[in-house]
Amino acid sequence: MMHDQGELLAFTEECEIAVTVNGQRYERRVPVRLLLSDFLRHELHLTGTHVGCEHGVCGCCTVLLQGEAVRSCLMFAVQADNLFLTTIEGMAGTQSDLHPIQQAFLEKHGLQCGFCTPGMIMSIHALLHENPDPTEEEIREGLSGNICRCTGYQNIVEAVKLAAERLRVAPEEVE
């Protein structure tokens, strides 16, 4: 479809936003059409959040918004104004240890190319928060919004079971 330049100028409107990501507050002036995923990756250089489809199916770009798993490719950065986000870079906090979900992925060989992994981990974090003791079926259902093309999911499911078990014994401190 052909546009004229006048129409295009409307897309370049900008807006001031303040977003807290992994506990750090960022203030930026951004184009209103900037996707949240692009904001995280290209403005804040938090490139652990990956983009796999840009239409909200693959789940690679999943982050936590106010603790809820959302797809950052389906949101504009301006929609996150004054909100709290957690990305994969914030999962282990400042600790040198991995988060129990990350640790379980390591032990269970839950990743191969690693591209879907950050989104998976964010989704699992939300899943286990909601349901700390999921059955295998609930885990698989809970993962079904995140596509992995490498692992066949089996070891991811095993990792979720292991992480759930450990988190039940030693729950995370609530941020």
Partner: protein, 801 residues
């Protein structure tokens, strides 16, 4: 390889994971360079059209746009991409221009590139470009390509025939003339695609200081790209560096080269003297990254009363899309894979490669094999049903026996070498599978379920897979002065754990921890010889090269240590990062100290060097500081490995499924894979490869079909419409290994990467037939998605699908 292994064969955790788990991987789109610009491509909306004119003036005038490229702006770079893997049967090869000039031949073909301050702006500019097309008749399918009235994809290629090849083993015509049973059937496979989670991408930088082109590309073959870019841009090869950083899956689609963007992005970066990034989005990936799988087979087969397969005559059409960038590798593999694990002595294979107005075809995981296995396993099932024999018994009767290796199939393989199976034990695999699925008791379960109105079916698929092809790979192993080991090879990594498995191979020889082996892959500056990661060859070919280099370093270490300790070489041991004389472990030196000692500099630094001075006294010495027999300074070696021919892995998979005849939905109740890739370097990694392959196979058998309409438009170019299996669809996969070492390489290994996907369409068809016996269905097409299965179930007239 003998004795106790500390690392080789062990299920060690991956060393690359902590970085990836923290979101600290570096995929191409994670690379951010100062002054970087962003590219977007205008692609053809027509499957076949003449380009009448292109007006880019409005795009060029948009503020923030730095460059707009059409074919006419490319100068001598406007050459068809090089033909990879030429073959004498490919008489009409055609490859693509970086940007279409006069004609477009598939929806998605690149027409204009825009480079701007941001990707958003670049895409805005695409909207301002005016292209007038004159649509031409479209070849939208294999069927429409082969008719006498078919339009021509390339005006100068009669009949759309790119290649035609006939191969024959034995005297099939004579066998058919006298065979007790002959059946003729057609089998069709439709298009699917690899769909790695990371799309393609290129970052290119022209370094004005070094006068050097540096490209980061999400590719499986950086070295061939380096060589090609040097030729295209008239640069010396050492002035081009291509890096495949972390790659988010490839599955074959990223071994294709050159994709247009791999030429255009460096062209723009060099022209503008600013870094340029191009990242493919998912919709682009659907219409511009290569696809596969479409073939149609017309096969006749002859067998005797005992179920012995006597002869096969297979004629098939292969859809190559609009171009043949990767030659005819895929149909060649199909032809050579069809005989499988069976003692087939009379076989004619004839194939015709046809152009269609669709995305070009190059190997996708399995690469022609799922098609061949589908055909052969359908044959085995049919023989069993015709003769009322057990399906597995028919297979067992036809298996090549363990003492019949090497087995010469009699065909020339895709790499020009013989199709000679090096080793195998198919019967052992089948027995394991039977146990895993409790095969002998399945008929009772099936009958009981049917009493309850449930339709269970069991399917099996056996395959033999050519892996580990040449021509060669190399590796450099070098002990650093801190005792850690640097190991570089030219292959790439798309998730196969090479940083771990190659480290295991090195650690085994040098007695170090795998955490102390730093593996570098996919950087032409680190290692500039080799090909890439495809065809299940990395562990076999690069792994063997890595082994040879590590053995050489071990020998050198022993030589240096023996001189230093004044001991016999046979008494020197390497363990836990230390080197010592067997009887005097307390006088050990670290491997780092040995490395310093092997480099006769008078200047050395660090704690290791200081420690060494306490041991090694600089006394008077005769002759040069670096004796010729040392073969150079340090503990370092570079070795190459070139296999005599492919090594042939094998497997037997089986599944029990349940079909709901009302909804035509299929559920996998059990899945078992028995897998033989020779000696296993890391069982966890191999099992992961099998799991992932099976999941892709299930996708390709049931969910994934690229649907093109008669205009050549891809109708399901999104993940909303092209279904990749999720955790809810993929079952638990039981994996067992059979290990018949390959005699062809020093590690005894065979490839494992593609295996999982190969037998799935075959076993899925077998299981559907079995479950739906009361409906009299025989599956002859793949994929068989729920809608299609529903049609078969509910349209009695179309049972022969």
């Amino acid at each position: 390889m003998m004795g106790t292994q500390r690392w080789f064969g062990k299920p060690v955790q991956r060393v690359e994971d902590p970085r990836l788990l923290r979101g600290k991987g570096t995929y191409v789109d994670d690379i951010d360079l100062p002054e970087m610009l962003h590219a977007a491509l205008l692609r053809s909306p027509h499957a076949h059209a003449k380009i009448v004119y292109i007006d880019t003036s409005a795009a060029q005038a948009l503020p923030g746009v730095h460059l707009v490229l059409t074919a006419r702006d490319l100068g001598d770079v406007l050459e068809p991409s090089p033909l990879l893997v030429p073959h004498q049967a490919l008489t009409q090869p055609r490859t693509q221009l970086p940007l279409a000039r006069d004609e477009v031949r598939y929806v998605g073909e690149a027409v204009v590139m825009v480079v701007a301050e941001s990707r958003y702006l670049a895409e805005d500019a695409l909207d301002l470009i005016d292209v007038e097309y004159e649509p031409l008749p479209v070849v939208h399918s294999l069927t429409s390509a082969s008719t006498s009235v078919a339009p021509l994809v390339h005006a100068d290629v009669p009949g759309n025939v790119a290649a035609h090849l006939v191969q024959q083993v034995g005297t099939p015509d004579e066998i058919f003339a006298s065979a007790p049973h002959v059946v003729r059937e057609t089998f069709v496979m439709d298009r699917g695609a690899a769909m790695p989670m990371e799309c393609r991408g290129v970052v290119a930088k022209w370094d004005t200081l070094e006068e050097m082109l540096i490209c980061w590309i999400s590719t499986q073959g950086p070295i061939p790209i380096r060589n090609g870019l040097a030729a295209i841009f008239h640069l010396p090869e050492h002035k081009v560096r291509v890096v495949a950083p972390d790659v988010g899956g490839g599955f074959g689609t990223k071994i294709m080269l050159f994709y247009p963007e791999e030429i255009l992005t460096p062209f723009a970066a060099r022209h503008l003297e600013r870094p340029v990034k191009w990242i493919e989005d998912r919709r682009e990936h659907f219409i511009s990254a290569n696809q596969e799988r479409s073939q149609s087979h017309d096969v006749e087969y002859a067998f005797d009363d005992q179920g012995t397969l006597l002869a096969v005559r297979d004629r098939f059409f292969h859809d190559t899309g609009a171009y043949t960038p990767y030659g005819i590798v895929v149909p060649l593999i199909t032809a050579c894979t069809l005989p499988g694990p069976y003692r087939l002595r009379h076989y004619t294979s004839e194939f015709t490669v046809l152009y269609t107005n669709k995305v070009p075809v190059s190997p996708y995981r399995g690469a022609g094999r799922p098609h061949a296995v589908f055909v052969m396993e359908r044959i085995m099932d049919r023989i069993a049903s015709e003769l009322h024999l057990d399906r597995l018994e028919v297979r067992a009767r036809n298996f090549i026996a363990p003492d019949e290796f090497p087995w010469d199939v009699g065909l020339v393989y895709q790499d020009g070498g013989p199709t000679t199976y090096d080793s195998g034990n198919y019967q052992a695999g089948l027995e394991k599978l039977k146990a895993l699925l409790d095969y002998d008791h399945f008929p009772e379960k099936q009958a009981a379920a049917r009493q309850e109105g449930r339709y269970l079916g069991l399917g099996v698929g056996c395959y033999v897979e050519g892996t580990g092809i040449g021509p060669y790979e190399g590796a450099k192993v070098s002990v650093e002065s801190d005792g850690r080991v640097y190991a570089a090879t030219g292959i790439t990594t798309q998730g196969q754990a090479h940083a771990t498995t190659l480290a295991q191979i090195v650690a085994e020889q040098l007695g170090v921890d795998i955490q102390d082996v730093m593996v570098t892959t996919g950087d032409t500056q680190a290692f500039g010889w080799g090909v890439g990661t495809f065809a299940s060859r990395a562990a076999t070919v690069a792994g063997s090269a890595m082994h040879l280099a590590a053995v050489k370093v071990r020998e050198k270490t022993i030589q240096v240590a023996a001189e230093l300790f004044e001991a016999l070489p046979d008494d020197i041991e390497l363990a836990d990062g230390k080197v010592f004389v067997r009887d005097a472990p307390q006088k050990a030196l670290t491997l780092g100290q040995l490395a310093i000692s092997a480099n006769p500099l008078r200047y050395s630094y660090g704690e290791n060097a200081r420690q060494l001075q306490n041991v090694k006294l600089a006394g008077p010495r005769p002759g040069p500081a670096l004796p010729a027999e040392r073969g150079g300074p340090g503990l370092e070696a570079t070795e190459f490995y070139s296999p005599p021919h492919a090594s042939f892995a094998s497997g037997v998979h089986g599944a029990i499924i349940e079909v709901d005849p009302v909804t035509a939905m299929v559920t996998f109740l059990q899945y078992a894979a028995v897998h033989d890739c020779g000696r296993v370097i890391n069982p966890v990694v191999v099992e992961g490869q099998v799991h992932g392959g099976v999941a892709q196979g299930i996708g390709g058998a049931f969910f994934e079909r690229l649907v093109y309409d008669e205009e050549g438009q891809l109708l399901n170019a999104s993940f909303m419409d092209y279904f990749l299996p999720t955790a809810a669809e993929v079952p638990i996969i039981m994996v067992e290994h059979v290990e018949t070492p390959s005699p062809l390489n020093p590690l005894g290994v065979k490839g494992a990467g593609e295996a999982g996907v190969i037998p799935v369409p075959a076993l899925f068809a077998s299981a559907i037939d079995d479950a739906l016996t009361p409906f009299g269905i025989r599956v002859q097409e793949m994929p068989l998605h729920p809608c299609r299965l529903s049609e078969l179930l509910h349209s009695p007239d179309e049972k022969d699908c």
